[in-house]
Each structure stands twice: as C-alpha cells, then as structure tokens.
C-alpha cells in the first residue's frame, strides 16, 4: 500500500524505512520459531513425503524408487491386520470414550462449585499420570491369575478369572479400557467448560415450556455443544488412529498380532527393520486418511461457527 506513495524511493531507502519501523527486529524475533519449526516440524514433514519415494541404504545417497515402497507396504499381509486392529481400537475407543466424558460432564455440571472443582480434579488426575506409569500399573491390575486385582474384584461377583491381555480376543478391549481411563479427563473438562457457558435463559425457557431434565439435556445442552462434540469426536478418532504407547508397552502387538496397530507396524518397519522408505510410505498413507478427516473437520466447524 505504502509503495504507491513512495514509488520514487530507491530500494535502499525502502530498506532503511523498513528497519526504522522495526521490520528487522520483528524478523529477528521470529528467528526462534522459524528455526525450530523449520528444522523440527516443516522440514521433516516435507522430507517424510519425499522419503516415501526413496530407498535408504546408509552407505550411498538415497535412490528414487517410485512407488515401490507403497507397493511393498500394501502387499504386506500385516497391513490388513494392523488396519483392522486400528479400526477396532478406534471403534472401541469411541464406544467407551465418547459417551462417558459427555455424561460425566453433564452430571458434574450440576454439582455445587466446591464439589464440582473436586470432581474435575479427580476426573483429570489420570491424565496427569505419565502414560508409561499408567500402562505398567494397569499391567499389574490385569494380572491374569485368580489373585490378580481385577480378577479378584470380579470374582467377588462370581465372574472370571479373565485372561485380559493374554488372550487375542480380550487384549484389545483391555488396552482400550486403560486408554479410556487415561484420556477421559481431558474430554470431560472440555465438555464441562462448554456446558457451563450455555446461557441459563435457554434452560429457563425450556423449563417454562414444560421440558423435563432429560428433555433439557437433549434439546438444550447437546445442541449447544454440537461444535465441541464434533471436534472432540474427530480429535478422538485422529488420536486413536495413531495409538502407539499402549499396544507397544502392554502387549508389543501380541498375542497373535491381535494388538498390532498401524503405528506399531510403522515403528517396526523403521526402528526394527531399518526400512525407512516403507515406514514413511505407511506414514503418508495414514496421514492421507487423517488429512481427509481433518479437512472434513475444518469444513464442518467453519460452517457451524458462522
């Protein structure tokens, strides 16, 4: 804009004026973010896509191999297993982990201030526990023997003993149970913040129209939360699709590959097999799926926040 007025000025004068207005120090202040993001965020993202089309052998420079990394990954029989398991994890994580925080947040929102703070604190406590500690502790809880902690609780009501992580059928649900315990606090707090910002007049009006409590939750609370609910749903899906620490530390992918997830397969390609091409190709494929979800998320939230 200003260039039209100062068209006559030389480039040198323009640079001096830019410096006087603080343009140089603004650039200097942006250096930390440019360097850190450049090296550790933007460059690896671009390089990840490039590497998916290369072969690395650590002796000479990487060579271009076209689509062969993708062909290799797609032909790997373990891929279908991993995709299936990741889908199972995602579905179970949503089935356990989506309604629970929402219901909990609604219930907690009706508590008095003091008790509400206490309940929020307790609900968020598992999120603060380092995941590795939580997983290793739950591994003790999942002790398949009769005197295991969960088994002795269930034995009191005449159930079990269950094999938990030791059987292919129950390993994944066991992992999801712990992951839900570890993650529900975040969603609960976000829902709670959204619920407390619902305008009281809306409840007032609904009540005057004769709406009971359940009907108010359904017709006032949930519609007011729809943006947040949608965001949380998609974030949960995106998070679940990249699950790593739980299957890696609980079962290492077993038994009989029943908990081998896509992320675990990627880790094996890269850090057990040293096949960086296959690992990045798998990463690109998963990223494409998640990017499609993110795009959907952007479109819908933009439409709804208008």
């Amino acid at each position: 804009m200003s260039t039209s007025i100062h068209r006559a000025s030389s480039p040198r004068e323009r640079i001096i004026r830019w410096r006087r207005r603080g343009g140089l120090s603004a650039l200097a202040l942006a250096l930390p973010v440019l360097i850190v993001f450049g090296y550790f965020s933007w460059k690896p993202l671009v390089q990840g896509v490039v590497m998916a089309f290369q072969k690395w052998n650590f002796v000479s420079d990487p060579t271009w191999v076209g689509l062969s990394n993708f062909q290799y990954v797609l032909a790997d029989p373990l891929l279908a297993v991993a995709v299936g398991n990741t889908l199972l994890f995602t579905v179970l994580a949503l089935a356990f982990g989506f309604p629970l925080p929402l219901a909990l947040a609604v219930a907690v929102s009706t508590l008095r201030d003091r008790t509400r703070r206490l309940a929020s604190f307790l609900a968020y406590l598992p999120v603060i526990v380092p995941p590795v500690v939580a997983i290793l502790l739950w591994k003790v809880f999942y002790d398949p023997s009769e005197s295991g902690l969960f088994n002795s609780v269930l034995a009191a009501v005449g159930l079990g003993p269950f094999p938990w992580l030791n059987a292919a059928a129950s390993a994944m649900p066991s992992i999801v149970l712990e992951a839900t315990w570890a993650g529900a606090g975040t969603a609960t707090l976000i829902y709670l913040a959204a619920i407390t910002s619902v305008r009281p007049e809306l409840y007032e009006a609904a009540e005057l129209d004769g709406a009971g409590i359940a009907s108010r939750i359904w017709h006032v609370t949930f519609p007011q939360l729809r943006t947040v609910i949608l965001i949380m749903l998609l974030l949960q899906v995106i998070g679940a699709a990249q699950v790593f620490a739980e299957p890696y530390l609980f079962t290492g992918g077993g038994p009989q590959n029943a908990t081998l997830t896509v992320m675990l397969l990627l880790y094996r390609y890269a850090f057990t097999g040293g096949d960086y091409g296959a690992a990045t190709a798998l990463g690109v494929l998963l990223a494409l799926v998640l990017a499609a979800l993110s795009a959907l998320y952007l479109v819908i939230t933009r439409r709804w926040s208008e």
């Binding site: 850190v36 968020y124 590795v132 006032v220 949380m232 990463g283």
Partner: protein
C-alpha cells in the same frame, strides 16, 4: 456469590423448582453420589493403591492385592529403588528434559506470538498459517525424518542423539503453545501498545516491559503444560534419549521393570508420578482452566 441474595440465582441445567420435587431431588442426589464415588475410585483409586502397594513385599501384593492397605510398612522398597535401580538419576534426567523443554517452549511461543499478534508484519499471516497447519498434519509422517534430522543435523552434520537438545528443540515446535499465547496477546489492550510506540519504545523494549509483565498468568499455563507434556512423553525420548545416562524416567521404567522385583518396581512407578501429581495439586486451578479453555481456541 449466589448465596448472598437468593433471587437472581445463576442456574444451570437444574432449577430450584426441580430440586424441590422429592422424586427428582432423590434422583439427582443419587447420581451425584454415584458420580463422586466413581471419580474417587477411578481417579484417585489406582494412585492410592500404588502408594500403598509400593510399601508391601512382592509376595503380599501378589497374594492379595486388596490387603495392601493393612501392612504398608516395607520402606526398604524405596531404599532399593534409589539404590539398586538408581531411580534418582532417571528422575533428575526427567527434570533436565522437562525444564529445558519448558524454557524452549516459552522462548519460541512468546517471541512467535509477539510477532504474530502484536507486531503484525506483512508476512505474519503466512507465518501463523504455516504454524497452524502443523496442528492438522499428523505427526506420523515426520517421525522418521525427524529422527534422521536429529542424527545428522544439516548443514552442520552434528549428531544430537543422547543429548537433551534432541528432546528440547522438537518439544519447542509446539503449535499449541503458540496458539494459546497468540490468543492471550490479541486480548491485550491495543492502546497500550500504541502509546508505547508513540513514546518511542522499540519492539524488544515493548515486549520486555509491557507485554511480558502482563502475560505472567498465561506464561505460567504454557510452562506447566509443557513440563507435564515432557514428563509424559515416551516415544520420542525413547528414540533420542536412549542412553541410560540421559534416559528420562518414562523411557527407563519399561526397561527397569523387566529386571526388577515387583515391589521395588511399584515404588519406582510411584516416584515417577509424584512430580506431575504434586504440580497438578498445587496448580490445579490454572491447569484445569487451561484445559477447559483449549476448546474455545479451536472454534
């Protein structure tokens, strides 16, 4: 607040009228009790069990996990955790990792948010767009190249593996911290900035004597969240801080667990949770409001 004058009660889902009806009142109270018992058992239960179990012998824990409350006196587990498995060193490593990650986060997010939200240069939009984009692009694509970058940092060819820089610097590339800071800086009164500019204050001086002093609460939130995030991190530090001399506790625990007696290991697990849990107890108000506010930022 609402207690002072009963009339303009700030209501939520439930009204006074609801609670006056005996049936509803009993139902609501039952749900409240169930919810409170539920969050106590699920939230505090596992940690409480860990605290008590870590003071039992392995045989006692294995024989009856629900009897651990009654004979919690095996303090030698903690002596052994500090002695034989040297848990103190891993805790110290975690502190170094977390504090460095926190400082790096603060430096990068403050300067970036200051440029984007206050200085607003012409290229500010491009910068914030490029930062925001990383929130939506899944990190899995960059895991392997990030690892290779750390092994051989171009153009210097330095290998950062097993130095804390390998964990600090990537932790600072945190779009979320920048987003929180930008949101806060945007809410600062613009007149203050204009007035300082008229007084001839340079960019750095404005940052130092006006913006930063006003931002103490938000700096605290970003600092806390980054410390807790570093304490919880596993996959990345397991790749770049693999040497026992620099291993944070999360990386060390799964390895230590394979060769340690259960009771001593439970003591180690408990020690690993103390710092984040105490931080959370002291700063729960800031952390809980920070988490709640994070949804508003994404709208």
């Amino acid at each position: 607040m609402s207690r002072a004058i009963a009339e303009p009660e700030s209501r939520g889902l439930l009204s006074r009228h609801d609670l006056r009806r005996p049936g509803t009142s009993i139902l609501v109270r039952t749900i409240h009790v169930l919810v409170l018992v539920g969050v106590v058992v699920a939230g505090a239960g596992p940690l409480a069990w860990l605290a008590f179990a870590s003071l039992n012998t392995t045989q006692e824990v294995l024989r009856d996990p629900f009897a651990v409350w009654f004979h919690a006196d095996e303090w030698s587990n903690y002596t052994a955790a500090f002695g034989t498995i040297d848990i103190g060193r891993y805790l110290l490593n975690t502190v170094v990792f977390a504090v460095g990650a926190c400082l790096a986060n603060l430096i990068v997010s403050t300067s970036a948010a200051y440029v984007i939200a206050v200085l607003r240069p012409r290229w500010g939009g491009v910068l914030s767009g490029a930062i925001l984009a990383t929130l939506f692009l899944p990190g899995i694509v960059s895991l392997v190249p990030l690892y290779l970058t750390v092994l051989d940092l171009p153009p210097f060819g330095v290998n950062l593996q097993n130095t804390y820089w390998a964990a600090w610097l990537p932790a600072a590339a945190n779009a979320f911290s920048i987003l929180i800071m930008v949101g806060f800086f945007r809410s600062l009164p613009r007149e203050l900035i204009e007035a300082a500019r008229l007084d001839g204050a340079g960019n750095l001086r404005m940052l130092w004597s006006i913006v930063l002093p006003l931002s103490r609460p938000i700096l605290g939130v970003v600092a806390l969240l980054s410390i807790i995030a570093a304490w919880k991190d596993y996959l990345w530090p397991s790749l770049v801080l693999a040497d026992a001399s620099v291993q944070p506790i999360s990386v060390a625990l799964p390895i230590v667990g394979k060769i340690t007696d259960l009771s001593v290991f439970l003591a180690a697990l408990f020690l690993a949770t103390i710092v984040p849990v105490v931080l959370f107890m002291v700063f729960s108000k800031q952390i809980l409001s920070g988490v709640g506010a994070s949804s508003g930022l994404k709208d």
